[in-house]
Amino acid sequence: MKTSRLNLQEEKSVLDPEKIRKDFPILNRKIRGKPLVYLDNAATTQKPLAVIEAIHHYYSSENSNIHRGVHYLSEQATLAYEGAREKIRDFIGAKETSEIIFVRGATEGINLIAQTYGRKFIGSGDEIVISTLEHHSNIVPWQILCEQVGAKLRVIPIDDKGELLIEDLKKIINAKTKLIGITHVSNALGTIVPLKEIIKIAHEQNIPVVVDGAQAIPHLKVNVQELDADFYLFSGHKVYGPTGIGVVYGKKNFLEIMPPYQGGGDMISSVTFEKTEYNILPFKFEAGTPHIAGAIGLGVALDYLKSLDLEKVALYENELVSYALEKSSEMPDLQIIGQPLDRAGVISFNLAQLHAHDVGTVLDRHGVAIRAGHHCAMPLMKRLGLEATCRASFAVYNTKEDVDSLFKALQKTLEVLG
């Protein structure tokens, strides 16, 4: 009791959740007659009004194609789109806006790197290293590449707590290792991976590192230069932005030597039937009309997050996670899956002997939205000896009351399915 009251006070001094909640219109919704308790933020976050309005504003008063028109609207749209790129550069601490490439999301980002950098610089007999924690989107693109070029996939193992075994990484990498693809935060367990250390080890052997930041960007202050990441990518929709937009950051010296991803308009500087000159960075990687409204919306989402202060956001979300873990320790039938030392935003668990989907169904009827399943990380589930888990994942608008509702609904679940 004492600790939770302390936490409550701390929380008040950190962020004002009631004020934040007012920024998210969907949180007023009732689900099956109950207030929405949205704890599926690792799948996608809700959008603040500022983002919704920015998209509305773009389509109602700036809509035009970019980089091509001589007219006023095109100029406005281009400014807004390129302005968003600058916001993203600033948010992740990249050196230049030319290092920021807009894509559809994290998945497309990884595929882009695999099919451009990978196709050119990874060959037969080479090795690509990933980890047991990866989301399918950081596994399958590399498997496809391996099949195309005859390379081999190696995997960094984890311990039972869900932490990477860094000592094993040192044994796995060798002269044939051409790339490491690693998540920053596990979407299934919440593990924060010791990126700096991994990148340092990799760079000692001149191995570039691709970081899947999809679950880190919403929760951690990320600076790609401090991390010294060679590539860093994420999805807009998991960080309060629209779906269909994401970002690949790449160090300029890599992006420059990489072939284009897709061919088409905008990615060229001149085309004849004999030869095409590719455009400069970042446009070389952005063929065709991009998701302009999405990029603008993402820029506004990052502005919003920045206005709350990322360090406060991280503190506040940690509070929620600790509170949930504390409550779970009072529930003997609940087993937390993964005990990483550093955790961001996510708790995985199983309830008694119940299957996650049954738990998810009952929680849903109580207005509590969680994810149940393998979380697109089937190899991880296999390693843990599980078919599925329940996952509660937090965002800045969640409250301790949400956590209370979750645990109340879990108690009800035991009654219904027990």
Partner: protein, 150 residues
């Protein structure tokens, strides 16, 4: 919360916790494996067919309470029935869980299987309930098959 109790009735919970015919028939002559990639449900149905007669039926697998109970009750309903009966059960069952039973099909003949009537209020769980039945059809039709709900 009525519909939760309609979904997870005693009978369903009992069969999910203590599935009947949960084994491999050693001298089975037909079998098929079914997957529900969305949930990760996995089931193998084993049959011993003597011409059109289902002499024995069993299953193994893992998954949620609905898919397990559905498989278990399916095996108890079909032992010593004909494949023709099985097809007829299949049609009625799938109609029932999808809530497509507006032509007033007589569901009485489904007997205990009617316990899954409540599934229709849970559209995302329909596949869980019907996976064993789709797998059964694959097993009848092929000596060895693999199917997926997606």
């Amino acid at each position: 919360m009525e519909e939760l109790h309609d979904l997870y009735q005693e009978l369903v919970l009992d069969h999910s916790k203590n599935p009947r015919n949960f084994k491999k028939i050693l001298n089975c002559n037909h079998s098929a494996e079914g997957f529900n990639p969305l949930c990760g449900d996995q089931i193998t149905v084993y049959l011993k067919l003597e011409k059109d007669l289902i002499q024995d039926i069993s299953f193994l697998g893992s998954g949620c309470a609905i898919s397990k109970a559905s498989a278990s009750l399916m095996t108890t309903a079909l032992k010593n029935k004909t494949t023709k009966d099985a097809f007829s059960f299949f049609n009625k069952f799938v109609q029932m869980v999808r809530g497509e039973n507006n032509q007033g099909t007589n569901l009485e003949s489904l007997g205990k299987l009617q316990v899954f009537k409540g599934v229709k209020e849970f559209p995302v769980r329909v596949k869980c309930a019907s996976l064993p039945w789709h797998t059964l059809l694959a097993a009848i039709e092929k000596k060895n098959g693999k199917i997926s709900t997606e």
